[in-house]
Symmetry: C2
Subunit: 503 residues, 2 copies
């Protein structure tokens, strides 16, 4: 039994210790994004760098290689999905990656991320791309170095993408995004040509922050986010983060003149949170207790946000409650509300984009970061290139960088190669959601009756409880019995939006 | 030059590294008292224990003894107050203490504190002493062990008191507290016999949490608390904590039907915060950048809270502003408000006690924890003994444990021997405040004109900037040219309260 092998037990201990250390780093990260005083960011960067360095040292301890060797981790059958085989395989993969990165680079990346992020927060507030530019340059440089250290199949970008979506290559993603564009641009155009338009002014009626917070919290709890193991806080850019066992926190931003922002933001982050909270706790700190990839993570958030949260059946259940929280909605019919929250319209802000245009936002970021990384685009030219692409792909003018290239937190956090996972998330979500409907029966009937736990439990069983047992592509195949394809997403979008717009 | 000696430079590096590590622990502590989800406290305890253990290991590294030895730290002239002499002397003191404590005990204390505290929060809410009792027992046991490890002059309690107030013995504190009691009980009785009574119902008029928060924040900023290097949050038990360089956070609790609670709580914690924020930053992480003792820390908070914050001149400046924040005060005269916030009346809650009766609350806690530690009182008998003492010393009945022995956070946090430092704080504050008046001129004129920086700057120069250059008793002597005495406090209280009550 590998499980009782001394070397395996030592590895378990080591990785649980590393998880403990890294969870502390997550507390510092969460705090630095929510509540850190202005002047404290330099010292916080030192605190984070200390932990990052310590964790990196432990992750790259040659003893690990020795133990993996002793257990013959290299020769594990790739079809073996026992707990021990999964852990050993993934430890091996992580170790091989980690040892390629010098400690100094890892520490500098962590340190830079904190400083860049606090600069970004100000730069975004004041529409000052110039202030952020040197940090973007530095971030690109550090990512360039990272990719060189890790090695790559075809291009630098491959190495970075693999950090977020193990096993997926740039040349896998690029055509899928193009396919989506080819299929969706005509749909977007048809919709634009439709005379049916929702009245979205109803969503701009003033609703208090506290009512928004309370309603969103009630919804989040109802779909399965456990507030005894989590929290909701307020930040400029919403995110979800695990700070340790039984501690998963989400954030949102409130706009009293735009109800859907925080509401769907919370449902989205709660989707991430539910995944995190339902990973197998007994495996916490080991691959079997970890998420598969960002594309799988995002499938959970996008499914809850859009396929559930923007469905008509969902609102048949929630709308009466919403009208109690927000009396300004009492004069609005459910049909009008449903149409308004599903408006399709090219827009500036990714996180507020509708389901149909969303992937265009991703395509733009993917192309820009890939170009910057390859040296085809300089950091200084980013704002111009951003504006050009928005004009080209979405037909809209970007009035300033705050609503343009400064809107997302990712680059300031050092993350290049992350954006494509959002589109992978949408694709995964559509394919999983279709399968759930086939297996569970009519999901709309359930949502209408306020039953969200049937779907949530199915996701826990199929996805959450699996930890890193499979790579993302394989997991989708195991669950849906088909390889990932763009068809379910395109079909879902057409089925939903064509009738809505009378097409 | 010691400053350039290789051994000294290595010690500096080592202790700055330890400070970095310990500051991370403070972030976890702050978070666990403010925002930690219910279910996460066990894992949080593990996180904290990990850091505590690591810091303890580094603090007790034999290399430190070797370096101190190399620099002859033992033979430094006690009169030498150069930066290097102070650092070496205090490092030596700390090291000698630390090596006496086994790592396992240190970790268990840290771990127990987190669990005990989360139990206490619930126990306090539900008036359930039974739930907290086993944790109190364990805390006493761990403190007993700590004292035995450290060694003591006359009794176990000495070893614990010395942790918070270096160099002070139980037999120094006990008579001072008795002296205060002997002097103040007649004053309390005279006041009780006075026909003049404030109308405190004016303080119970409803005022919103947000107005309270905004006003208290404005006051805190005006007296010198820098919100760019700090925050204000909400907790059951108010506290102040440093989370690293330029990061000092205070907390309070709001009661919409009792204005002074949060208001003076914030001024109190801001007083602590101002001390922390004005320690010499260039010495951060070394004794020269650390506070002297809790009795000195408390002198800063109590001075701002009471001697400044409850003075008539302070309110001559602030009252018009207060009336804008709290329109319910517009029908109340300044005289009536001033009298109300200075009501003297035996009461149940320490942190809400007036200046005159306050030290009785401390005496009670001091006697009870000393008795429990010595084995003269069992944890199970605490609630009864608590009630008895309140009847005896303050003449009041304690209706339940929530308002009795469960009210304070200290014991749940593992701190025994801490309470006397509050009274030492009052004594220090009175003696320093008298001296400030002698040196700076009429403080009332300054307060009335909204000038709080003259006093704040004097405190920074005299106290904050000194770090741990002197022990508390010596510092008071250096600044005031007199040894600590109860006379300034007694004089201050009589001068303020006798006219107020027409005596």
């Amino acid at each position: 039994m590998i499980a009782h092998h001394k070397a395996y037990v030592e590895l378990l201990d080591r990785f649980k210790h590393i998880a403990l250390l890294e969870s502390i780093e997550e507390v510092l990260t969460w705090d630095s994004r929510t509540y850190l005083p202005n002047c404290a960011s330099e010292y916080r960067a030192d605190q984070i760098a200390l932990l990052t360095g310590m964790a990196h040292e432990k992750r790259t301890d040659p003893r690990i290689a020795q133990l993996l060797n002793e257990l013959d981790a290299d020769s594990i059958n790739t079809e073996d999905i026992s707990v021990e085989a999964v852990n050993l395989r993934e430890w091996k993969r992580d170790y091989d990656k980690q040892v390629k990165l010098p400690k100094q680079l890892v520490e500098e990346k962590a340190c830079t991320a904190v400083k860049a992020q606090s600069t970004w927060v100000e730069a975004r507030k004041t529409n000052n791309f110039g202030a952020f530019k040197p940090w973007l340059k530095k971030t690109l440089d550090l990512n360039h170095q990272t990719a060189e250290c890790l090695g790559y199949e075809n291009e630098l970008y491959d190495a970075l993408l693999d950090l977020y979506e193990p096993g997926v290559l740039t040349c896998d993603v690029a055509p899928v995004l193009s396919q989506l564009r080819n299929e969706l641009v005509p749909l977007i155009q048809s919709i634009a040509g439709s005379s049916k338009k929702p009245d979205i002014s109803i969503l701009e009626r003033e609703t208090s922050k506290s009512a928004q917070r309370n309603f969103a919290s009630e919804v989040a709890a109802a779909i399965g986010f456990d507030f005894n193991q989590g929290r909701l806080d307020e930040t400029a850019h919403p995110f979800c983060i695990g700070l340790g066992l039984n501690d998963t926190r989400i954030t949102t931003r409130f706009n009293e003149n735009y109800l859907p922002g925080a509401l769907f933001g919370v449902i989205h982050e709660a989707g991430h949170g539910i995944y995190d909270q339902n990973l197998p706790k007994e495996h916490y700190g080991t691959p079997m207790g970890q998420y598969v990839s960002l594309g799988i993570h995002e499938s959970q958030s996008r499914m809850w946000e859009n396929m559930v949260g923007r469905s008509r059946s969902f609102w048949e259940y929630w709308y009466p409650k919403a009208c109690e929280y927000f009396p300004v909605l009492k004069t609005v019919t459910l049909d009008d509300f449903y149409f308004a929250i599903n408006e399709v319209k090219p827009s500036l802000i990714r996180v507020e984009a509708d389901e149909v245009t969303y992937n265009m936002h991703i395509l733009i970021r993917f192309e820009l970061e890939r170009a910057m990384l390859n040296g085809d685009l300089s950091a200084a030219d980013l704002p111009g290139a951003w504006k050009e692409k928005y004009r080209k792909y979405l037909g809209i003018d970007v009035p300033n960088d705050t609503k343009g290239c400064l809107q997302d937190i990712h680059w300031s956090g050092g993350m290049i190669g992350y954006f494509p996972t959002y589109s992978l998330g949408n694709l995964n979500a559509a394919q999983l959601f279709r399968k759930a409907g086939e297996e569970l029966g009519d999901l709309d009937d359930m949502f209408q009756a306020g039953d969200f736990s049937t779907l949530k439990n199915w996701l826990t069983e199929q996805i959450h409880s699996q930890g890193r047992r499979y790579r993302s592509g394989k997991l989708i195949e195991v669950v849906t019995h088909e390889p990932l394809s763009a068809e379910p997403l395109i079909d879902y979008l057409k089925t939903k939006y064509m009738p809505l717009y009378g097409l």
